[in-house]
Symmetry: C2
Subunit: 339 residues, 2 copies
DNA sequence: CTGTTAGCGCTTTCAT
DNA sequence: ATGAAAGCGCTAACAG
């Protein structure tokens, strides 16, 4: 790799001059600029960010910490982040936590050691993760720019973007209630973890608002996978009084639930209504097509990236909160309950 | 952030000594080691990789260049890469090309400027992309470690891992032929691009081997999305003599094709057999469940990461090729043709 | 408009 | 076993 000195020598100028033409940090005569550029081209010179970062602290790298990139919600979010950052000359290091607080801390440290200019974090637990919380607060104290997505620290004083998932869940319940359902179940991950909590709260809130009974046996925890959804639905179907509709914590779980119904000959939506969460691409393609609460994952990522960049430029801005909208996408898995 | 000087001062030693205890690059007396470690702990010191990289060239960052992280194949591959690298203390920068050669070059440059120690690349075009090819060859000439996944340069002299997708496609055709199908269609992305080429070649090869007619009108190009698959299947169904079975370039396309059949009342698998490609998680959950050629995406990523790390350590190793297996997963979308 | 000098955080000879 | 000094690629005053 050619260095700034090689270019300087070849162009017959000083390194600073070369630096100036690349950074436009001072006026340079047309003539020398051209000589420099020519020399650079001939040597295939690209300024090393490593070198400049040592003085400027600008690596144009940010760290993105998510649960698991294989989850479509995460990968859409990641793409939103990447697109927005890349346009501004930034690139990102992505690490997965699998919801493990230990790993979350480790991952944050490893990323930080690379001198990133900021973090975008989807916290796995909200306020229930002493280890990671402590570390993140420390970063914040060092004024490291951080934008949170989905969850956030138990602290209103940070930048974050949410999707009003709680409202989304409530919308879904309202819709089902409007259709005439009374026994509405919830299949829901671990309620106290990650994104599940808002969704669960929204469900409860709306059940109460609609004066519908909140039966513990209709609220079942599950893995947040299709297998988890399948098992959970079987448990619900085994009940003496199964629900006539269920809201699920994500689309994969919903699809698992559909499979369970299919296996048992329970027809959707005639005998069972199902609502998913996230609106992953496949949701439109299940047969019947899945009614679901759409999460603007890409937009959330894009927005978080925007906020982060802003904070990098103006560290003293007041903290910013953005609430995007979750919206119910009605398709074919929902209908009035059987008479 | 505390620097190595802060730690040295606090421990009453020289910076070199601190460096030595962290890098175990020379013997240090037990006593001073402990003092240094204590000082480091008190100051929350973590060696900055940026600083050391300037001399060692070791950033412990590698660049992963894929088409689109939102594609499940890519995200599984990425996770395989990340897990393997992270265990060895590496982290990765991920960028998307969307199959655009211009963007591919740009992305490679941006990543390189960050001093990455190597690349893992899933080339969008194989040997038909002068711009990107030229740049990649240049990297190779500079002895930058690169591992290719899926496709590779038109050059046997590089490290790469494939999935024998061509064999997988052939397997699928053989299976359909064995079932009695003669008119087997192929819905296939742009045949000359990215992963599609191997799959298309495998299809043709097996059609010929089975002495089946290779009809141009049964091979249709499409977007590699479910919408693309849906449209393509409609075109096939509009034919005077539609096929009785189709192989598709990926599962999303297959699912789109299923939707098209469903809309037209063509029953699967009785009137139409469909085979997907990739075995994304959702494939097991469509109704009926999708028969598909499984790609070991996670393993391919993991293997590529392994190869890359090996090359970083031993640049003079002979180039290595790994061929993982694609395997047909028979589920419920395939059956003998109608009589 | 351009050059000189020092320094960013760390490693690495070379001494001791 | 430890320290001093130079240097990695670049930027940022400070001169001129």
């Amino acid at each position: 790799m050619a260095t700034i000195y090689d270019v300087a020598q070849r162009a017959g100028v000083s390194p600073s001059t070369v630096s100036r033409v690349f950074n436009k940090t001072a006026a340079i005569s047309q003539a020398t600029r051209e000589r420099v550029l020519a020399a650079a081209r001939e040597l295939d010179y690209q300024p090393s960010i490593l070198g400049s970062a040592l003085t400027t602290k600008q690596t144009f790298i940010i760290g993105l910490v998510i649960t698991d990139i294989r989850n479509p919600y995460s990968s859409f979010l990641a793409r939103g982040v990447q697109d927005t950052l890349f346009k501004e000359g930034y690139v990102c290091i992505i690490c997965n936590t699998d919801g493990d607080p230990r790993r979350e801390v480790h991952v944050l440290q490893e990323i930080r050691r690379r001198g990133v200019n900021g973090f975008i974090i989807t916290p796995s637990f909200a306020g229930r993760n002493p280890e990671a919380d402590r570390y993140i607060r420390q970063l914040l104290a060092h004024r490291v720019p951080i934008a949170f997505v989905g969850n956030r620290l138990d602290d209103p004083n940070v930048d974050y973007v949410t999707s009003r998932a709680q409202d989304g869940a409530a919308q879904a319940v309202n819709y089902l209630a409007g259709l005439g359902h009374r026994a509405i179940g919830f299949i829901g991950g671990r309620y106290t973890q990650g994104v599940a909590v808002g969704r669960w709260l929204g469900y409860q809130e709306a059940m109460i608002a609609n004066r519908l009974p909140l039966c513990p046996e209709l609220m079942v925890e599950s893995d947040t996978t299709s297998e988890g959804g399948e098992q959970a639905m079987h448990r619900l179907l085994d009940l003496p009084n199964p629900p006539s509709a269920v809201l699920t914590v994500n689309d994969l779980v919903a699809i698992g639930a559909m499979v369970a119904c299919h296996r048992r000959g329970v027809s959707i939506p005639d005998q069972m209504s199902i609502v998913g969460f996230d609106n992953i691409p496949i949701a439109a393609l299940t047969i019947p097509a899945l009614t679901t609460v759409a999460q603007p994952a890409y937009e959330m990522g894009a927005k978080a990236a925007e906020m982060l960049l802003r904070r990098c430029q103006q560290p003293d801005l007041p903290p910013q909160q953005v609430h995007l909208r979750s919206s119910l996408v009605v398709r074919q898995t929902t209908a009035p309950p059987p008479a």
